[in-house]
């Protein structure tokens, strides 16, 4: 087995890095799109209860639907390929992002916002100088959860023809070549772990910067 794995890397390392690249491209693109949707939505949700309630219900519904099901539901509507895979991943990433953004903004003490206003800030300055920096650790935590979710779910994107490390796993399963399955699965796990550590490090950095002990 080990010999087979080593041989794979000797002969097909270009192919392997291609899959990794596809996987990362899928994951990061969908993360960025999801963030662009989730941050404004979360900010609105923190200011408006109706939006917050809607987001929370929507998030819980999404949690019930398995990622794989979501991917397949999109095939009849969107066909196969990268775009439907991206859409599915974005939808999966939204709940942790939105919920944590709302949480982050809600955690900012109303007294601090009032003090900000009383020092002469308008709403935009208040957001930029007070609310956003204080909500940032929570928001980044949402990014972490979303990223891990996306990286693992992107494995399944292979099924609708979007490529990525899932290709190795499903090829291996189809041809009964376990070395492919192991390489694919371990790589996905490593990517997940790495992204988690990276985000944890970023969050720690941010927290150190503001020294806020609360």
């Amino acid at each position: 087995m080990l010999a087979q794995i080593i041989r794979y890397f000797q002969t097909s390392s270009a192919e392997y890095w291609g899959y990794v690249g596809q996987h990362l491209f899928l994951s990061l693109t969908s993360l960025i799109i999801a963030m662009l949707i989730a941050f404004p939505l979360g900010y609105l949700g923190s200011r408006n209860n109706a939006v917050a309630a809607f987001c929370q219900t929507f998030s819980q519904l999404l949690r019930i639907i398995p990622s794989l099901a979501l991917l397949f539901i999109l095939i009849p509507i969107m066909g196969a390929g990268v775009i439907p895979a991206l859409i599915a991943l974005v939808v999966l990433a939204l709940p942790p992002l939105v919920v944590n953004t709302i949480l982050g903004f809600n955690e900012v003490s109303p007294v601090l916002k009032e003090v900000g206003l009383s020092l002469g800030m308008d709403q935009r300055q208040l957001l930029k100088q007070i609310s956003l920096p204080l909500a940032l650790p929570y928001i980044l935590n949402g990014v972490k959860l979303a990223l891990v979710e996306i990286i693992s779910s992107a494995t399944l994107a292979t099924y609708i023809g979007a490529g990525g490390l899932g290709t190795l796993i499903f090829t291996g399963l189809g041809l009964y070549k376990m070395q492919y399955v192991v390489i694919g699965a371990v790589s996905v796990a490593l990517l997940s772990l790495l992204s988690m550590f990276l985000m944890d490090w970023v969050i720690r950095k941010v927290r150190e910067d503001d020294q806020s002990n609360y």
């Binding site: 009032e114 003090v115 009383s118 020092l119 002469g120 300055q125 503001d210 020294q211 806020s212």
Partner: protein
């Protein structure tokens, strides 16, 4: 020649059907130190927040420095009224210097002027700028944080300073120190008007040139401490002052 810098005319404030403040009328002159005394729910904090526009009156007219509050840009107004709150409200993600520089930055002062202001303000409240500018609020004691809160409120040299129970979270000894300091601060800055809300009668009598006693959204009496003691206008005021006498009696008893 004294000038009314804060003027309330028939001001009322309702939350839904709840009337927090009914028909409030008073004038405060420039340079006065006014303390506002009342229990929670008396409307004292709401009154304070109406001065810097954080709350809007449902009825009546508020004039600040001759300008009707309705016609004033509230953001600009806030930048010219200092505000110190009970929970101190320092921004935890900013250093002491950054906290003090918030409003100067909003006003786009140049760097040199801001740095000088930060140092001046810290000196004014008795904190060494070299030692404290770079620290974060969490690294300071409660009393020091409250001093920074005052320094921040003073940063733009505002003609009016509002204090919302700033010392109620401090313990008794530190509290007495900062009370003394605020009193001296006002003596040094005698053209500034201080509007100080508290529920502590001793604090109110000690600090105020005049004391406004509020109960259930109305003013019971607004007078100098001497007048209050000599001629309490209502039973409520008399009862309040009675508590001071009781404290003294307790002191005598144990002496």
């Amino acid at each position: 020649m004294t000038k009314a810098i804060i003027k309330f005319e028939h001001v009322a404030k309702k939350y839904g059907k709840n009337e927090i403040i009914s028909d409030l009328n008073f004038e405060i002159n420039q340079g006065e130190f006014v303390t506002v005394l009342g229990s929670s729910g008396s409307g004292k904090t709401t009154t304070l927040k109406m001065i810097n526009g954080l709350e809007k009156p449902t009825k009546g007219k508020i004039t600040i420095n001759g300008n009707d509050l309705n016609d004033t840009n509230l953001v600009d107004l806030c930048r010219h009224i200092g505000y110190v709150v009970q929970s101190i409200g320092l921004f935890p993600h900013m250093t002491i210097a950054q906290n003090i520089a918030v409003t100067p930055n909003l006003l786009n002062w140049d760097k040199e002027k801001i740095n000088k202001t930060v140092d001046d303000m810290l000196n004014q409240v008795g904190l060494d700028p070299k030692e404290y500018s770079g620290r974060y609020p969490a690294q300071l004691s409660g009393g020091q944080q409250q001093r920074v809160g005052v320094a921040r409120a003073l940063s733009t040299n505002p003609p009016i300073m509002l204090f919302d129970e700033p010392f109620s979270a401090l313990d008794a000894i530190i509290r007495q120190d900062v009370q003394q300091e605020v009193k001296e601060l006002h003596q040094n800055l005698s053209d500034k008007t201080f509007f100080f809300v508290t529920h502590d009668i001793n604090e109110a009598l000690f600090l105020g040139d005049r004391v406004m006693i509020m109960n259930k959204g109305k003013i019971e009496q607004f007078d100098t401490p001497e007048k209050l003691v000599a001629q309490p206008a209502t039973d409520y005021v008399a009862q309040l002052l009675g508590t001071v006498r009781q404290n003294r009696a307790l002191w005598e008893q144990f002496k």
